[in-house]
Amino acid sequence: MKFIIAIIKPFKLDEVREALGAVGVAGMTVSEVKGFGRQKGQTEIYRGAEYSTNMLPKVKIEIAAADDLAPQIVETIQQVASTEAIGDGKIFVLDLAEAVRIRTGEAGDTAL
């Protein structure tokens, strides 16, 4: 099993969700996050007081997937979330040791 973490631009979330649904992803966790990478922050000015915000809002998607589906998920996210500009985000893939469905106690691939 693989655990996929993708940081994407917030406005791309709906498109990515739809595309992943078509690929066969049954569930995901989404959170609003802030961070920085190569993309520059913005400057805010309040009555002459300047604040440069170097943290930008992004959306983090977390998906647990079976080994055979993982490459397809990564490819889909990469293609759909891309605007070919800096700040598009990153995808991380981790090995997942175990998964348990709380309701039934099922474990492994069947729990996904």
Binding site: E44, I45, Y46, R47, G48, Y51
Partner: protein, 499 residues
């Protein structure tokens, strides 16, 4: 009826419209003629009435000189001014602080309003608007009406016209709302770092030592039917001839300088200049600024104490000066930063309101616009350049907007009040009945500057002494931990937003 016809007959609509226009023109001519006759009659009536004006009327006679329209307007104005403080000012300030201090600001404003109302009834009204029994009757009043003794539903307060009176309670409550908002304005200067209990004690002392005397000096006088017989029964600045229609000195310069002294004595916020402290909700600030704008009509137009032509002058001046200042602040930001901000627009509007306050009943609409256009660049310079250079932490720019805007307005009043510029001039109340006085702009400028300086010194020194006393006894500042945690939790035990 004409409207209905025009809707029904589309084809003949145009010709009908032309006919209506022609009719309207005739009607205007007829109306003008009628108005001229009416004016002539009115002048005659006024002349006749002048001979029957009663000097120093008795209470029974005053009872016949009360106008229901005036009374309604003054009670409405009182409510409008209350709305300026809560929720107007509270939201305007609250939106500008960080989330963790939102409630502390709302609560400070809310409780200052409540405490000031009590103090006003107990001794404030008497100290501000009487002179009997005071050792220095031109500086502050006595205690003859303390606890509102002698004030009832059948006593009356003077207005600016001979033989026109208000129920005294209407005047008491209208002036009360001014005593409520002025100390509330100060809290913006040291927002996010003041102990609530200490602030409340400070407010009671400040009203007593600073606000009531200054209100007395600027606004107290015997009234148009009594002054000719008691020609020295007035406050010091009123007697000097200082013009302050609705409180440029009493409210804005007064609160502004008290705020500056406060933010210097309490010191900067922890992390000032290092941590980012952006406003937590400019939506709240916009709502607050708009409520201030609406309420300010009660403040300025209400300050005429009657509902008449001068009230309308103050009303329109307040409207257009504010528009002008909001526009000019936005234009400066557009030029300086390339982006006009909502906070800038709202700040400009408040600066415009502050500037027109002393001049509202004296200026003309077009000179009010000039006043509004000019106040924003001056305040902008103070809040964005001077403040950053001198590094004082006037958190919500009470000094930069209220004191500086107030000084500009108070001095500008001398210019825009000149009848040569369409201003209202001033009334000479030493004669009976009162008549228009001869206006001297140069002399008036000097008087206005003197009034500004006296207010700055009285309020600056008085406030400094009071801050010192409260700091040494109760302590003005919460602990470092409490300040870091936020005053909402540490002072009030609650959170503004539970999400």
């Amino acid at each position: 009826m004409i409207r209905k016809l025009a809707y029904g007959a589309g084809a003949i609509g145009a010709s009908l419209f032309a006919a209506t226009a022609a009719f309207a023109q005739e009607a205007t001519e007829a109306a003008t003629a009628a108005a001229t006759t009416a004016a002539a009659t009115a002048t005659e009536t006024a002349a006749a009435a002048a001979t029957t004006l009663i000097k120093a009327p008795t209470v029974e006679q005053m009872a016949t000189m009360v106008n229901k329209g005036d009374t309604s307007w003054m009670l409405t104005s009182s409510v409008l001014v209350l709305m300026m403080s809560i929720p107007g000012l509270a939201l305007f300030y609250g939106g500008l602080v960080r989330t963790k201090n939102m409630l502390s600001v709302l609560m400070q404003v809310f409780m200052i309003v409540s405490v000031a109302g009590l103090v006003w009834c107990c001794w404030g009204y008497s100290m501000a608007f009487t002179s009997a029994g005071s050792p220095f009757p031109q500086l502050f009043g006595g205690l003859s009406k303390a606890m509102l003794i002698g004030v009832s539903g059948t006593t009356y307060a003077a207005t600016f016209s001979n033989n026109v009176y208000l129920p005294e309670f209407a005047f008491v409550v209208f002036q009360m709302t001014f005593a409520m908002i002025t100390p509330a304005l100060i809290v913006g200067a040291f927002a996010e770092r003041v102990k609530f209990s200490a602030l409340m004690v400070f407010v009671v002392l400040w009203l007593t030592v600073v606000y009531f005397p200054i209100a007395h000096m600027v606004w107290y006088w015997a009234g148009p039917d009594f002054l000719p017989d008691t020609p020295t029964d007035y406050g010091l600045l009123w007697g000097m001839g200082a013009l302050d229609f609705a409180g440029g000195t009493v409210v804005h310069i007064n609160a502004g300088i008290a705020g500056l002294v406060g933010c210097l004595m309490i010191g900067k916020r922890l992390g000032f200049g290092k941590e980012a402290t952006p406003p937590h909700s400019l939506t709240m600030t916009m709502i607050g600024a708009s409520l201030l704008w609406v309420g300010w009509f009660g403040f300025n137009a209400g300050s005429n104490l009657e509902s008449n032509g001068v009230t309308a002058v103050a009303f329109i001046n307040t409207m257009v000066a504010t528009c002008a200042a909001a526009v000019s602040w936005s234009v400066i930001e557009q030029i300086h930063h390339g982006k006009p901000s909502m906070l800038g627009g709202a700040t400009g509007a408040v600066a415009g309101l502050v500037a027109i306050t002393p001049a509202s009943g004296f200026a003309a609409p077009m000179t009010s616009i000039v006043l509004g256009l000019l106040v924003s660049p001056i305040c902008y310079f103070f809040v964005s350049v001077v403040k950053n250079k001198l590094k004082y932490d006037d958190t919500l720019d009470v000094f930069g907007v209220h004191c500086i805007g107030g000084i500009f307005g108070a001095i500008g009043t001398a210019i825009v009040a000149d009848p040569a510029l369409g201003g209202q001039g001033f009334f000479d109340y030493t004669q009976f009945p009162a008549g228009v006085g001869t206006y001297d702009m140069g002399a008036q400028l000097v008087t206005q500057i003197k009034a500004v300086l006296l207010t700055l010194v009285w309020s600056g020194v008085g406030s400094a002494i009071l801050y010192f006393i409260v700091d040494k006894t109760i302590g003005l500042r919460p602990s470092e931990e409490a300040e870091r945690e936020g005053l909402d939790i540490t002072e009030h035990g609650e959170r503004a937003y539970n999400m």
